[in-house]
């Protein structure tokens, strides 16, 4: 789905809207505004998002006139009650702001959301049918707990354990992060699973993602990267530090200058033109830069907490870019400073006497919940549901949890001990990548 294509432009969006002009005129104003806003973002949408927008319009267009009235009756009724339909505004963003404000003022926003959910309950199967065929490619999601997190073995992957198969691992000396990651993801002296996927499937970098708190996986991909780069889209919380601080400073200055409330600040944030500095990304293009900005500005704790960033960015990547391979690698969160639970925007100053300390125990509690959310959100999407292998690993820990969403567990959930090389072979086999020089065999019950 996300094979390299020509650059998609605003003209493509305009063309799509033109093709559905009559339909758009018959849609509720809040829907029309939503579609207009999405079309405006067209150059910064991932290929699956553009495909989705097209499928959405085509699916709605298949309804007859009376069906359309019936499907949108609830939304239309609320819009009329709130006065949305009297708004005269051609700019989609302003139209959306104005209609949302009217719904909010009338206290109708929760009911409007419920009505929209009702519409999508009828619409989504049609869209999924158009976009995700039964023989769509298999996908792989790997969740890693980085070294330093205080793993409690008896509570490890507690929320997901009943859904998966436990695999005891032979680490064979790969106790450190570097060795562990090398054993899992390096397929040859030059290649990683990410670059191999790109070459085998002719995929673009949007099809393999690394989201990590630290930067070890980024370093692994860069070491020996050849023939067109790392082959993945990579977001490292650590490497994005300068960008995070710049965003935080800009917002803080705006707050100090006086804003009427969060809505005004959000509007200001939308207009900010700042991007990650050169060299902080494995792959950089307009779509990825806009994505990162959205992750920092729309996810509440993403500017402040590494693991929140990893979870939110991963979930957003799964929803928006639908990569075939995503690796979410959590790390150790810093402890909160005394008195203030968190210091919004502020970076440590020379006068700050409170040292930064790590919270390995709290981090374990956090990542247990967040990794569950990564799985939960992936399974909400038709792109992943029923066709994904989830592997959960903790660096230096001699066990793994594997969940095949196409084959719910029916037998005792434990396999014989396996080597990390066999796990690597399993991942490669699952996404259809040649095993290279490795003599390890995939775990048949997982990759078959």
């Amino acid at each position: 789905m996300s094979a390299p294509t020509r650059t998609s432009t605003a003209a493509d969006a305009a063309s799509l809207l033109r093709a559905h002009r009559d339909l758009l005129a018959r849609l509720p104003v809040t829907f029309r505004a939503f579609i207009g806003v999405e079309a405006e973002k067209w150059p910064t949408l991932f290929a699956p998002e553009r495909a989705y927008l097209g499928a959405l319009l085509e699916s709605i267009a298949r309804w007859t006139g009376p069906e359309l009235v019936d499907v949108f009756a609830g939304v239309t009724r609320l819009e009329t009650g709130a006065g949305c339909r009297a708004v005269r505004e051609s700019d989609p963003r302003r139209l959306q702001d104005a209609t949302q404000a009217l719904l909010r003022r009338q206290g109708l926003l929760p009911r409007w959301r419920q009505e929209v959910d009702q519409v999508f309950r009828r619409l989504q199967p049609r869209i999924d049918e158009r976009l995700y065929s039964a023989n769509a490619p298999r996908r792989l999601v790997v969740v890693l707990y980085g070294q330093g997190i205080a793993i409690q073995r008896d509570r490890l992957w507690r929320r997901l354990r009943s859904l998966g198969t436990r695999v005891p691992l032979r680490l064979e000396g790969a106790q450190t992060s570097e060795a562990f990651l090398h054993a899992l993801f390096r397929t040859s002296a030059k290649d990683t699973l990410f670059s191999a996927l790109r070459e085998a499937a002719g995929r673009g970098p949007h099809d393999a993602w690394i989201v990590e708190a630290g930067e070890s996986l980024h370093a692994l991909c860069e070491a020996g990267a050849s023939r067109g780069g790392a082959g993945a889209t990579g977001l490292s919380y650590a490497r994005l530090r300068a960008y995070r601080e710049m965003l935080a400073r800009s917002l803080y200055q705006k707050v100090l200058s006086g804003v009427s409330g969060p809505q005004e600040l959000a509007a200001y944030a939308r207009e900010m033109v700042v991007g990650p500095p050169q060299g902080s990304l494995l792959h950089s293009d307009e779509v990825v830069r806009a994505f990162i900005r959205d992750v920092f500005l729309a996810g509440n704790g993403t500017l402040l907490l590494n693991n929140t960033f990893v979870e939110w960015a991963s979930v957003q990547a799964l929803k928006r870019a639908e990569p075939r391979l995503l690796v979410a690698r959590f790390g150790v969160r810093d402890k909160m400073k005394p008195f203030s639970s968190l210091l919004l925007f502020s970076s440590p100053r020379p006068t700050d006497q409170v040292p930064i300390l790590e919270d390995p125990f709290g981090s374990f509690v956090d990542v247990e919940q967040l990794s569950y959310y990564v799985w939960l959100n992936a399974e909400k999407s038709a792109a992943y549901r029923g066709k994904t292998l989830y592997l959960l690993l903790a660096e230096g820990v001699d066990e793994m949890l594997a969940i095949r969403s196409d084959a719910p567990r029916t037998e005792p959930g434990e396999l014989p001990e396996a080597a990390l090389a066999e796990v690597a072979a399993t991942m490669a086999a699952w996404v259809g990548v040649p095993l290279g020089a490795s003599s390890a065999r995939p775990l048949a019950s997982l990759a078959g």
């Binding site: 206290g107 707050v255 409330g261 006497q353 125990f361 709290g362």
Partner: protein, 387 residues
């Protein structure tokens, strides 16, 4: 050279001292003689919102040991409590104090649209401002003490104190004058302190909306003075809610108000996505709630005549909705399903009522407990309490 930890306390003590009137007799505002047997009521919210599964579901019990083991056995527990309004902080707590669902600015820019318990109580009885208080960690609660209705509002609203903002002002005041404590890099210190206190969990750009009814000078002075003792304590507080806890105890001890709403809010750190910090904040709130109950029992003005109500402001999203515990936007069942615990005067001991109630029922219940009238609405007093 930056100040040391003890230097920091010196600054804060100095800040408070600058505001305090040195000539004010130390206990000028000691509680008046409370030989009367009037009832009192304290409502404490698990502000920010908590989920059933993280509190009173069996897996949540370790997070609320004081409620489960000590307060529930002494009181009446309502496990079927619901909130049906907008799932924002101001509107949810606004519904609690008015008995009506509110739909005003989610960030506290507007007062409630119907009379609050504080206004009804003070107006009917002709009570002074010091009889009713809102003490809130959430800095958007400046306008929660009174409604925007004509003939109501400020003249009969509750005193509202936002302890963190109070401290911010004290710090700003201290560093803005040469008479303040001697420190190097005064401006840097001020910025650091203000930054440390100026937090908002849910988003950026929250404003503090000052209540139109400013605290009386003497009350303000007295409370600022109390900061002296606070920062002299070797157990220097580590969160905004602990400051709120301290302020509440001070107000109870010095003024013995009849009606107090305490809003704890550290729990809303959940928005930042750290589950462990969210659970830690629940445990802290549990401890502070119990501490307030114990404090009430230690004061003759409160012991045996105080109805103590503990209730979450609202729930938070269930795991399948959005991003789970982090938000309270979906309006799903997990946002709606709450609990309520009543303990103290007029409350049967060790009972559980399966009767479904709503958080809006708190307001008419307070009216019955304290003996004043609220405008008729859909909310009903908790009839299980003896009035």
């Amino acid at each position: 050279m930056p100040p040391s930890d003890s230097g920091r306390r010196d600054i804060l003590r100095g800040a408070a001292a600058l505001i305090a009137d040195a000539l004010l007799p130390r206990r000028a505002f000691a509680a008046r003689d409370r030989s009367d047997n009037r009832n009192r009521a304290i409502v404490v919210t698990f502000g920010g919102g908590v989920r059933w599964e993280d509190t009173f579901a069996p897996e949540g019990w370790p997070n609320i040991p004081h409620l489960v083991s000590e307060l529930v056995p002494q009181g009446l527990f309502y496990p079927e409590t619901r909130y049906e309004g907008l799932t924002g902080h101001f509107n949810a707590t606004g519904a609690l104090v008015t008995g009506c669902l509110q739909n005003v600015d989610a960030y506290g820019g507007e007062a409630p649209t119907t009379p609050t318990v504080f206004e009804c109580f003070r107006k009917e009885r002709g009570l002074p401002p010091e009889e009713t208080w809102v003490i809130a960690s959430n800095k958007s609660f400046g306008l929660l003490g009174g409604s925007k209705l004509r003939d109501w509002g400020d003249p009969c609203a509750a005193n509202v104190i936002l302890p963190k903002q109070f401290l911010v002002e004290a710090v700003k005041s201290a560093v803005s004058t040469d008479a303040g404590p001697g420190v190097e890099d005064r401006q840097a210190l001020a910025e650091r302190m203000v930054s440390a206190l100026d937090e908002g969990y849910e988003g950026f750009g929250w404003r503090v909306h000052e209540s139109g009814r400013a605290l009386g000078k003497e009350v303000r002075t007295s409370l600022a003075r109390s900061l002296l003792d606070y920062f002299n304590d070797p157990l220097v507080p580590t969160s905004g809610d602990e400051l709120t806890f301290f302020m509440t105890k001070e107000i109870m001890s010095r003024l013995a108000p009849s009606l107090v709403l305490v809003n704890f809010w550290d729990i809303d750190v959940a928005h930042f996505g750290a589950y462990s910090l969210y659970l830690e904040a629940i445990r802290r709130t549990d401890r502070l709630v119990h501490g307030l109950w114990e404090h009430a029992q230690s004061l003759p003005q409160y012991r045996g005549r105080t109805t103590f109500i503990v209730v979450p402001e609202m729930g938070r999203d269930g795991d399948p909705s959005g991003n789970g515990f982090q938000n309270h936007r979906s309006g799903d069942e997990s946002c709606r399903r709450l609990w309520l615990l009543a303990v103290g005067a007029g409350v049967p001991r060790g009972l559980v009522s399966e009767r479904p109630i709503r958080t809006t029922d708190v307001a008419p219940t307070l009216a019955r407990v304290l003996g004043f009238k609220m405008p008729e609405g859909e909310a009903r007093p908790l009839v299980e309490l003896a009035f």
